[in-house]
Symmetry: C2
Amino acid sequence: MTSVPSASPDLSAIPDAELLRLDHQVCFSLHAASRAFGGYYRRALKDLGLTYSQYLVMLVLWEQGPQPVKAIGGRLHLDSGTLSPLLKRLESAGLVRRERSREDERSVVIELTSEGAGLRERALSVPRGVLAATGLSLEEVLGLQEVLGRLTGALGEVVDGD
Amino acid sequence: MTSVPSASPDLSAIPDAELLRLDHQVCFSLHAASRAFGGYYRRALKDLGLTYSQYLVMLVLWEQGPQPVKAIGGRLHLDSGTLSPLLKRLESAGLVRRERSREDERSVVIELTSEGAGLRERALSVPRGVLAATGLSLEEVLGLQEVLGRLTGALGEVVDGD
DNA sequence: CACAATTGAATTGTGCACAACTCAATAGGC
DNA sequence: GCCTATTGAGTTGTGCACAATTCAATTGTG
């Protein structure tokens, strides 16, 4: 631990003050990129009447079919405090139905309406537009996703396991 | 434009339905990673009494000194609708002062109090902890920041220039 | 100088994210 | 069966993000 691989710059040799600089903080570039995506999707999804987060929920439903709130939350790492009002808005928009499960009355199953299912057709063209807008190559996208996945996993472990 | 570089898989050969899968969407991994950072910082900054976004504002002030709301917003890509209430909370916490500029009465200059400036000492150890929690090497972090920077720039251009 | 256009903050309204809590349904131990 | 613990949604409260609007200060132009 006191010696570092020779190929890597020695992180411990960098002073605290340098690491504190805004430009050097991963959180900032990630935060900015995430919000830049938000801005793009706000426009791209306007026609569909969806927000960024509602789109993510619809992706799960299109892909996996009817399922309880809990399962959607597990897939997207969102809790009921976020999903309950969001799903009510999707219900008001006529895109999903919310029904208590018969097997377990605590659970609420979310199901697409025919309108919600039909919206998928119009969403098919969105991802390609996004990829084009990023200006990244497919390799870069795949590499980015791999690194981000590890990042999320590592941060999740630190948070949960502490 | 109709032919792709031979080293890159042909993006246009991938069907729409495949691109629509949640796992293949960059926005999702980015969104998840950004929120994972939020969770980490929530804990790391609890002692300092700062939120994630407040920390970013403090970074700017620690680094650049007193400056108008507009300049902070430019640095972080945030508008007055976000910054005004945030800065009022920082003022209530005794970390900053808000004063109308004498040169331009429209502008409000944000300045650190001595307490706010003193908080920097306690924040110095935060970035190293974050880097450790990510589990990434320094090269990976630098590569990530480079890609994210290009991403943000490209998405910003699409949004602004359209 | 007068007046229109622009600029910088602030406000309002909508929606997301999450902690903390409530409440009902279920599961387990006795 | 009874009682406790757990689980799944929902609610409440705080804070961030952003569009749209308001308003005062400033700038530009005639």
